[in-house]
């Protein structure tokens, strides 16, 4: 065979660049937002929005790229929250360190769940993860003392705000929390982006779509899913610590509830799973619905937001099965093209 000259590949990165162009702008806006939003309530809502964007982004590594539907990620939120809180209350350990320890513990648990369940398909996997997370919640609800650790059963743990400051992960104002969760989100998105452009990302996508074909191409599908699960449960767990430090009160029904797992899945499915923008978009659209329904209908119609999500999800699945990110990216690209001329193709 004669060496053929390298023909120019039709620039696969260009459309990506076009997408990334406004990223610094968006980021600057996100960092500047607390300067304009002075109301503590709205800042609180924004923080929860970012928290769910972060949770969904972390979930997306398994639920999006690996093509399975885990519905038990609340378990990792709980493990993260309880680990750092118990260690800080009983041993005075900085929640930052507890955060990492919780993350490692969650990774371990995540892999342990993944080992048997990744062999299951579709709904069976989803059900198994629900069962696990619920099982863990019920256990924590019924345990007051686990060896040396005080869990306090259903009453949960209160974190007295005695000592404020970065080292204690505790602040009187909401702004520091905002910046912490925003930084965490940026990092998680960065990790997702790196994974999607790596061998792991390709293998996950392949294994999620056609496992048999992927295996024949050298992909150990079960193993790459476990790796994704490990990263995902680690990241999810960090959010648990954040949650605990932000609300200063955790109990099994708050940080381990099935609602969290479901809301994550709703956000991902409606936004577009398996894409980087999907979780962000989904959180941006759904979180306000969730908060306002709780504020205005919390007493009369609790759980209304889940009903609304369900309806929205049905509509999205019917008309945009790949999530809302797809039409929006298309729309956005068209707009960019109109603004800057035919950048793509040619």
């Amino acid at each position: 065979m004669n060496a053929s000259p390298a023909t120019p590949s039709p620039a696969p990165g260009r459309s990506g660049l076009l997408q990334r162009a406004p990223l610094p702008l968006l980021l600057a806006l996100a960092f500047a937002l607390p300067l304009f939003v002075r109301s503590a309530t709205y800042l609180h809502i924004l923080i929860l929005l970012l928290l769910y964007a972060y949770l969904t982004t972390s979930w997306n590594l398994v639920g999006g790229f690996a093509g399975v539907l885990p519905l038990g990620h609340a378990a990792f939120v709980g493990i993260g929250a309880y680990t750092s809180t118990v260690l800080s209350l009983q041993y005075g350990l900085s929640p930052w360190i507890g955060m990492v320890i919780g993350g490692i513990l969650s990774t371990f648990v995540g892999v342990l769940i993944g080992l048997p369940t990744f062999k299951m398909r579709g709904a069976y996997f989803a059900l198994a993860t629900i069962a696990f997370a619920e099982g863990l919640r019920v256990m924590v609800e019924n345990i007051d003392q686990l060896g040396p650790f005080r869990l306090n059963g259903p009453r949960g743990l209160q974190i007295p705000p005695l000592e404020l400051g970065f080292g204690r992960f505790m602040f009187a104002e909401k702004e520091p929390y905002y910046y912490i969760i925003l930084t965490m989100l940026v990092l998680a998105v960065g990790i997702t982006w790196a994974v999607s452009r790596s061998k792991l990302g390709y293998c996950l996508a392949a294994g999620g779509e056609e496992p048999e074909a992927a295996q024949s191409l050298g992909v150990n599908v079960a193993r790459v899913k476990l790796v994704a699960m490990a990263i995902s449960s680690f990241l999810t767990s960090l959010a648990g610590t954040f949650w605990a430090q932000f609300t200063l009160y955790i109990h099994p029904k708050s940080v381990m509830s099935l609602d969290i797992s479901f809301e994550i899945a709703f956000i991902a499915l409606i936004g577009g799973r398996g894409s980087i923008a999907g979780p962000l978009l989904g959180a941006l659209l759904l979180r306000p619905v969730s908060d306002f329904s709780r504020i205005h209908f919390g007493d009369t119609l609790p759980g209304l937001h889940l009903v609304i999500f369900g309806v929205v999800l049905i509509l999205v699945m019917l008309y945009q099965p790949r999530g809302l990110q797809e039409p929006l990216t298309r729309f956005y690209r068209r707009g960019m093209r109109r603004l800057f001329g035919a950048v793509e193709g040619g």
Partner: protein, 241 residues
């Protein structure tokens, strides 16, 4: 040099004896065809070689090493790649993405894998479709994509499961030419094929499977004359003619 050896390989599913004591040797650089009527056990045999399931008994040896019972991804790393009779593209992804997954078998770097994938696509004259979504390909191109992905893993042995089925005659000719070119580059082929014209033209040797048993083996012309083969394909009445 013997690349692949099958020693008395059997595969039973409960009471069904899909493959019974099948033996065959494939030399490096050969193209060996496997033919037989529908349900003869061809795909079952392929699946045993490709690691989808282990044989019930018998030995499969590749490059002198026992490989029966190994998993598909392990076999891929050893140098065995395959295509699927019912094509399984990563439909939501581009052709380039599909082939890059295969190329990742030999490297961990995306740039390197994509370079390798484009090289393979050029070899198969598919580079113009690199950015087309696999779901939008014609059946001929999907079959080609199966080969491209498998090739990107840098196999020594390529198992082709009916890559010509559903192709138009001109497309069959193209595919035959492609496989010949690939053989020139040093790849060994073990092919299941129903299109006689193609398998006769391609193969150095042909094995015939009938109800799980090998009933003939030899050069294409010999096999085509074999009475048992004619009977198996055309029925008892033709045997006397």
């Amino acid at each position: 040099m013997r690349l692949l050896e099958l020693h008395r390989v059997s595969k039973h599913f409960g009471g069904i004896r899909a493959v019974e004591e099948f033996s065959l040797e494939v030399q490096a650089g050969e193209i060996v065809g496997l033919i037989g009527p529908n349900g003869a056990g061809k795909s079952t045999l392929f699946n045993c070689v490709a690691g989808v399931f282990p044989p019930t008994s018998g030995e499969i040896v590749f490059q002198g090493k026992r490989i029966d019972g190994r998993k598909p991804w392990e076999l891929c790393r050893l140098g065995i790649a395959r295509t699927f009779q019912i094509v399984k593209p990563f439909a939501s992804r581009t052709v380039l993405y599909n082939v890059t997954v295969g190329a990742f078998a030999a490297t961990s770097r995306l740039a390197e894998a994509e370079r390798r994938a484009l090289e393979v696509l050029r070899t198969l004259r598919m580079e113009d479709k690199a950015h087309v979504r696999a779901a939008n390909l014609t059946i001929a191109d999907r079959k080609r994509l199966e080969i491209a992905r498998a090739l990107a893993t840098r196999p020594r042995l390529l198992l082709l499961d009916e890559v010509m089925a559903g192709l138009r005659p001109t497309e069959v000719d193209e595919m035959v030419a492609v496989i010949r070119r690939l053989r020139e580059s040093g790849i060994t082929f073990f092919v299941i094929e129903h299109i006689m014209r193609a398998v006769m033209a391609l193969s150095d040797r042909i094995a015939v499977l009938h109800f799980g048993h090998k009933i003939a083996e030899g050069a294409p012309a010999e096999v085509a004359r074999d009475e048992r083969v004619i009977k198996a394909y055309l029925g008892e009445d033709y045997g006397a003619a």
